[in-house]
Amino acid sequence: MTESVQHPLLRVRDLSVTFPARPGKAPVLAVDRVSFDIDRAQTLALVGESGSGKTTTGRAILQLQASSGGSVQLLGRELGQLSRGGLRSMRRHMQFVLQNPYSSLHPRMTVAQTLAEPLRVHRCVPAESVTARVAELMTLVGLDPAMVSRYPHEFSGGQRQRIVIARALAVSPDFVVCDEPVSALDVSTQAQIVALLKSLQNRLGLSYLFIAHDLALVRQVAHRIAVMFAGQIVEMGAADQVYGNPSHPYTRALLDAVPVPDPVLQRKKLSESAADVQFHGLRPKAGPCVFGEDHAQSGTACWHEVGAGHGVSCRFWPAPAA
């Protein structure tokens, strides 16, 4: 199975997820035609606030959430069309680091059992080498291998998250979805885990889909950024481009709102009364968009390039003030 140079590791096209209607409520389009690529050893950060659809996107890519449209290709294989067995064996290429280190480990399994499980499932290493590989994984994430016989509740939050990362790495995946991997941790622990993730990427050539809401944190980790709102990507580009030249008003609002640990700047920011901007527009407007194109007529996607590899959506622009 040879990959051509232009073949991205992960290729997501028009991915959509619809949550079925509940009594008294309409069906919810949680993810609305999301498309992006991730290359080897690259990190794409998916940022947004609650309800933006970023977590659902991550889970849909991993096929842990049923999608209602679109395609997800990993290493050239269409994940949505695999059989159950085929999908399970594909899982060794894509792993998941969840947010809550306190609940993503089986409370009654020792660390050794937790780390050995993926090895057994995918039969990556012969049975005799499992113990050695488990010790190797512990060292890889900076933990003492002697602690493998302990239970999760005997570790701190930061240590537990390292174990979760070790489990994700057990099968030497190509791609890891990190869903808010450090939000539940203290700030100094956050910095350590982020440093660990980066060093692992350098050593092992891992690709990450890094889902987060903390823009300052994401700056430390991401090569490319996609900003999500109401299930759609509203801006995407290289980190420097998006932080340096935020083109969508929502991106600008997000960046403005991030509290800066600088008293003078922060006081100034808070004392300026910001207009309470409403980002509506769940249905595309008729007529020309803010870039002057009539998408309903031309049938083109609501996406515009504002720089090389830096694009922005013309949806969800607030109406200009009267």
Partner: protein, 273 residues
């Protein structure tokens, strides 16, 4: 302008000991600080440092499910809050000292309308009549920036977004114009765009109502714009104190320096290669 604000609150040697089964742990190990009238003071630190427990000491509230033994003195307008009768404490809570908690979803009663919850507090502390309380509750909802307050007072908590619920909690907290408002991680559970709105609201209310503010958070960005003085806590003790500008510019303690260094900056990119 006064040269030094009168001390509204004087805490000396505050300790808190938790007893769970046969295990006792000292969560707060003898801290002292003042809060002046109208002053804004921040407590910052990582989880487990004791900052939330300190806040609850001022209201003499034990965190759910544990028994706490308090020590030291907490002088509030001449009374030691750790020693007064519970009856006196109940009068002070909500009326003179009010608290806003982190999670708006679990702090509001889901089966009562928002207006009813505010009216309950107003009537309890001021003995107002039903119609007076209703008028006051609509005023308060308006004060905290909830549009269409008269109609929304009859809505239930689940009909509000997270940010609006937090505004409701703040309305409840300031309903009796307390001397001191304690905010324990008031914006942590909220989206970042909503955070800024809530922080601005707190600043505005502080100015308009002349309240003192005790802000507890782990987020240095939040502390930076909101308070005059900062106490950094670690493991139950205050390790550093200073004005907010001085602390951020020149942290003296190694712990404070390490914490500040670990905070990711929006304006500084990490090395990615």
């Amino acid at each position: 302008m006064m040269s030094a604000p009168a001390a509204l609150l004087q805490v000396r040697g505050l300790t808190a000991q938790f007893n769970r089964g046969d295990v006792a742990s000292q969560v707060v190990k003898g801290i002292s600080f003042d809060i002046g009238a109208g002053e804004s003071v921040g407590f910052v630190g990582e989880s487990g440092c004791g900052k939330s427990v300190t806040a609850r000491a001022l209201m003499r509230l034990a965190p759910e499910g544990s028994s706490v033994a308090w020590g030291g003195t907490v002088l509030f307008k001449g009374q030691d809050l750790l020693k007064v009768e519970e009856r006196v404490m109940q009068d002070i809570r909500g009326r003179r000292i009010a608290m806003v908690f982190q999670d708006p979803m679990s702090s509001l009663n889901p089966v009562l309308t928002v207006g009813a919850q505010i009216e309950d507090i107003v009537r309890r502390h001021t003995g107002a009549s039903a119609s007076q309380a209703r008028k006051k509750s609509v005023e308060l909802l308006d004060l905290v920036g909830i549009r269409d307050a008269a109609r929304r007072a009859d809505d239930y908590p689940h009909q509000f977004s997270g940010g609006m619920r937090q505004r409701v909690l703040i309305a409840i907290a300031v309903s009796c114009q307390p001397d001191l408002l304690i905010a324990d991680e008031p914006t942590t559970a909220l989206d970042v765009t909503v955070q800024a709105q809530i922080l601005r609201l707190l600043m505005r209310l502080r100015r308009e109502l002349g309240m003192a503010l005790m802000l507890i958070t782990h987020d240095f960005g939040v502390i930076a714009g909101m308070v005059d003085r900062v106490h950094v806590m670690l493991d139950g003790s205050i390790v550093e104190t200073g004005t907010v500008d001085a602390l951020f510019a020149n942290p003296e303690q190694a712990y404070t320096q390490a914490l500040l260094a670990a905070v990711p900056r929006l304006d500084v990119a990490g090395k990615l290669a």
